[in-house]
C-alpha cells in the first residue's frame, strides 16, 4: 500500500517537473526557438537605435537622428546573399507597395542596412536597389562603414551574423519597426507579408 502511494506521488511529481521544465524553457510555451525568444525579448525591451553613422547608396552620411519624427522599417542584408536576402527584400518591396502612398516618406521610411560594409559600397547598393525598385529616398539602402558601430547595432537588435565557409553569412531575418523617437517597437515575421503590412498600416493610422 505504502509502495503504491510512493509510486503515485513520483508519477505526479514527474509530470509537474516535466511541465515546469518545458514552461521555463519555452518562456511559458510562447517561444520554441531562440529566434522567437529573441523577438519576444526585443519587443519587450524596446532598445534604442544606437548612434551609428550610415552611408547610403547616394553616398550621403547621416545618423538615425535625421529620421526623427518618422517611423522607420528596417531589414538587414548583404547583397552577395543568394538565398534568404532576396526573398526578404522581395517581401519588403511588397510591404512597401501595400502602404498608402500618402504615408510613404512622410510617416514612414524604409531602410535596408547591409552588414557587409566591405563589399557593399554605395555603388553596389545602388545596383542592388534596382532589383527591388527602391527609389533610394523613401526606401534607402545603406551600410555602416564603422565595424564597431555596426556591431553595436547588431547586438542591440539581436541580429546574429555568422560568416560561413563560402564568403557568405548565416543570419536571422525579420522586419524591424522603429518608431518616431528611434526606439525599436516591433519585430515582424518577414514571411508573412500580409500580417506585416496590416500591422504597419494599422500602426500609422493610429498615429494620425
Amino acid at each position: 500500500m505504502m509502495k503504491n502511494w510512493c509510486n503515485r506521488i513520483a508519477i505526479t511529481v514527474s509530470i509537474i517537473l516535466v511541465v515546469w521544465m518545458w514552461f521555463i524553457g519555452t518562456d511559458g510555451f510562447t517561444a520554441f526557438t531562440a529566434e522567437t525568444a529573441r523577438k519576444n525579448n526585443l519587443i519587450e525591451a524596446k532598445p534604442k537605435f544606437p548612434e551609428v553613422i550610415l552611408e547610403d547608396s547616394k553616398e550621403r552620411t547621416y545618423t538615425m537622428e535625421s529620421f526623427r519624427g518618422k517611423n522607420v522599417l528596417i531589414t538587414f542584408v548583404y547583397t552577395a546573399c543568394t538565398t534568404v536576402c532576396p526573398e526578404l527584400e522581395r517581401n519588403f518591396a511588397e510591404v512597401y507597395q501595400s502602404i498608402p502612398a500618402s504615408y510613404i516618406g512622410e510617416e514612414i521610411v524604409f531602410l535596408t542596412i547591409s552588414f557587409d560594409p566591405e563589399r557593399d559600397d554605395p555603388k553596389t547598393l545602388e545596383n542592388y536597389q534596382q532589383y527591388f525598385q527602391s527609389d533610394g529616398e523613401t526606401w534607402r539602402m545603406a551600410r555602416i562603414p564603422d565595424q564597431l558601430q555596426l556591431k553595436s547595432l547588431l547586438d542591440a537588435f539581436g541580429v546574429i551574423v555568422i560568416p560561413d565557409e563560402y564568403d557568405g553569412f548565416s543570419h536571422n531575418s525579420a522586419f524591424y519597426f522603429v518608431n518616431k523617437l528611434g526606439y525599436l517597437e516591433n519585430v515582424l515575421d518577414y514571411t508573412d507579408i500580409k500580417a506585416a503590412s496590416e500591422y504597419v498600416v494599422g500602426r500609422l493610422e493610429r498615429e494620425i
Partner: protein, 483 residues
C-alpha cells in the same frame, strides 16, 4: 472471457455517431439540392464533422468487431481496449468543440497548410483543438493496434506467421493455418500502425506549423503522408469488420470457412496493396514521380482481386445451396459482401489515370466510398450488432427490422448512386452550392437519406433494446440457438 459490456459500449457509441453523421450528410445534400439554405461556413463545418465522425465512429465500431472475435484466439488487453474508448471520446469532444465553437472547417483531410491558412475563417485555437483531438484519437487506436500486433506475435511467434507465410511457404500444413480472425487482425495491425505513424507525423507537423508559421514543410510530402494515413485507416475499417462475415456465414451455413493457401495469399496481397495504393489519391499531382502514379493505378486494380476472387467468391460459395436460415444478422452479413464487391467497381474505374483526369474530386469519389462503406463496412457492423443481440441477449427481431433492412438497401444504394451520377455529370466534390444542373441528384440523395436515417434508427433501436434488457443470462449460445 469476452467482455461484452465494453463491446456493447463501443458499438452503441459507434452506431449512434454514425447515425448522427448521416444527419449532417442529409443537410449537406439538401443544401446542395437547393431546398435548404445553409451558409457555406456551416456547410463546411458539417462536412468536416461528417467525414471525421464517420471514419472515427466506423473505425471504433469495427475495432470492437475485431476485438470480439480476435480475443477468442489471443490474449488482448482489456485495459488498452478501455483506454482506447476513453481517448476516443476525449478526442471527439475536442474535435466537436474545435469545429462548432471555433468554426474549424478544413475537411477531415486537413491538407497542409489549410489548417493554418484559413483566410481568417478560423483561428489557431480551433485548428489546435481539432488537431490535438485527432492526435488523441490516433494515440488510442495506435495503442489498440500495437496491443493486437503484440498479442498475435506472442501467440504465433511473428507477424509473418500471423499472416500464415509459413503455410504459404509449405513449412506448415494448410489445416494449421491461422484462423481468419488472426489473419485479418495481423493485416490490420500492420497497416494501421503504419498509417498512424504517418498520421501522427503529419498531425504534429500541422500543429507545429499552426503554432509557428515560419516553420514550413514540403506540401507534397505532407499530402503523401496525409493520404497514407487517411486512406489506409479508412480502408482498414472494412478489413476489421469483415471478420464478422467469416464467422457468421460459416456458423449459419454450418460450412467451414477455413484459411487455405489462396486465402492467405489474398490477405498478404491486401496487406501490401493497401499500404501502397494511397497514391491513387494523388493521380492529379503530375509532379509526383510517374512510377508512383502508375503503381497507384496498377495496384488499385490488383487490390480488387483478393476481394473479387477470394473473399466475395468464398462468401457466395459458402451460401450457395447451403439451406442457410436467413435472419437479420446473416442477411446483413451477406448484403455487406455485396456492398463491398459492388463498391470495388467504381473505385477501380476511378483509379484509372485517364478516367481520374476528368473524375478526380468529383462526386464520383464519395459515390464509390459511400457504396463500400455504407453498403459494406457499416453493414458488417450492423450485422454484428444483430448477431450479438441474438446470441447474447436472445432478442427477437420484429417485422419492423426487416422493413428497415430492405429500406436500408434501397436508400443506401440510392445515396451512393446519386453521387455516382453526379460524378458522371462532373459535379465537383465538396461544394457548398450547386448550379441548377447539378441539384437533381443531390436532392434525390437527400430525400433518400431521410429514409436511410429512419432505417438506421431502427437498427440502433434494436440494439438499444438488447442493451436495456434485464435478467437475461448473457452468454454465447449461438450454436444451440442458430441451428
Amino acid at each position: 472471457m469476452v467482455h461484452n459490456r465494453l463491446i456493447r459500449n463501443y458499438l452503441i457509441i459507434g452506431g449512434t455517431v454514425i447515425l448522427l453523421m448521416m444527419g449532417f450528410g442529409i443537410l449537406m445534400l439538401l443544401a446542395q439540392g437547393g431546398v435548404l439554405s445553409l451558409s457555406p461556413p456551416s456547410f463546411y463545418q458539417y462536412m468536416t464533422i461528417h467525414g471525421t465522425g464517420m471514419i472515427g465512429a466506423a473505425a471504433l465500431a469495427a475495432s470492437a468487431v475485431m476485438w470480439y472475435f480476435l480475443s477468442q484466439h489471443v490474449t488482448l488487453s482489456k485495459n488498452i481496449f478501455k483506454a482506447n474508448l476513453v481517448l476516443f471520446l476525449t478526442g471527439l469532444v475536442l474535435v466537436i468543440i474545435g469545429v462548432f465553437s471555433f468554426d474549424y472547417a478544413s475537411a477531415w483531410t486537413f491538407l497542409y497548410p489549410l489548417p493554418t491558412l484559413s483566410a481568417k475563417a478560423w483561428g489557431t485555437v480551433g485548428a489546435l483543438l481539432y488537431l490535438f483531438g485527432m492526435l488523441i484519437i490516433g494515440i488510442g487506436f495506435l495503442l489498440l493496434f500495437i496491443d493486437t500486433g503484440r498479442a498475435i506475435i506472442k501467440k504465433k511467434g511473428s507477424l509473418a506467421k500471423g499472416l500464415g507465410w509459413d503455410v504459404i511457404a509449405g513449412k506448415k500444413a494448410e489445416k494449421d493455418a491461422p484462423e481468419p480472425a488472426i489473419i485479418a487482425g495481423t493485416m490490420v495491425a500492420i497497416v494501421n500502425v503504419t498509417a498512424l505513424i504517418a498520421g501522427a507525423t503529419v498531425i504534429m507537423m500541422n500543429i507545429i506549423h499552426t503554432v509557428n508559421p515560419s516553420f514550413t514543410f514540403d506540401p507534397l510530402l505532407a499530402k503523401n503522408l496525409t493520404f497514407a494515413f487517411g486512406h489506409v485507416f479508412a480502408n482498414s475499417i472494412i478489413y476489421m469488420s469483415v471478420i464478422v462475415v467469416y464467422e457468421l456465414l460459416a456458423k449459419y451455413t454450418n460450412r467451414p470457412w477455413k484459411a487455405n493457401k489462396v486465402f492467405l495469399i489474398a490477405w498478404s496481397m491486401s496487406t501490401i496493396f493497401t499500404l501502397m495504393i494511397y497514391t491513387h489519391h494523388m493521380l492529379m499531382d503530375s509532379v509526383m514521380p510517374k512510377w508512383m502514379l502508375i503503381i497507384g493505378q496498377v495496384f488499385s486494380y490488383a487490390n480488387g482481386l483478393p476481394v473479387l476472387i477470394v473473399t466475395a467468391y468464398g462468401a457466395l460459395m459458402i451460401v450457395y445451396k447451403s439451406g442457410i436460415k436467413w435472419d437479420m444478422a446473416s442477411g446483413l452479413a451477406f448484403l455487406s459482401m455485396f456492398g463491398w464487391t459492388v463498391g470495388v467497381v467504381p473505385a477501380i474505374i476511378d483509379a484509372t489515370i485517364v478516367v481520374n483526369h476528368v473524375m478526380h474530386n468529383t462526386k464520383w469519389v464519395p459515390g464509390h466510398f459511400h457504396m463500400y462503406m455504407g453498403l459494406g463496412a457499416v453493414v458488417m457492423i450492423f450485422a454484428f450488432m444483430y448477431y450479438l443481440a441474438k446470441v447474447d441477449g436472445g432478442l427477437k427481431v420484429t417485422k419492423l427490422d426487416w422493413i428497415a433492412f430492405f429500406s436500408y438497401i434501397v436508400t443506401m444504394a440510392a445515396v451512393s448512386i446519386q453521387f455516382l451520377v453526379s460524378g458522371a455529370l462532373s459535379t465537383p466534390r465538396r461544394w457548398a452550392t450547386h448550379i441548377p444542373e447539378w441539384m437533381g441528384p443531390a436532392l434525390f440523395g437527400g430525400i433518400a437519406g431521410v429514409f436511410l436515417v429512419i432505417a438506421t434508427t431502427l437498427f440502433i433501436v434494436h440494439f438499444v433494446r438488447y442493451i436495456l434488457q434485464r435478467n437475461v443470462k448473457r452468454n454465447d449460445l449461438y450454436d444451440e440457438k442458430l441451428v
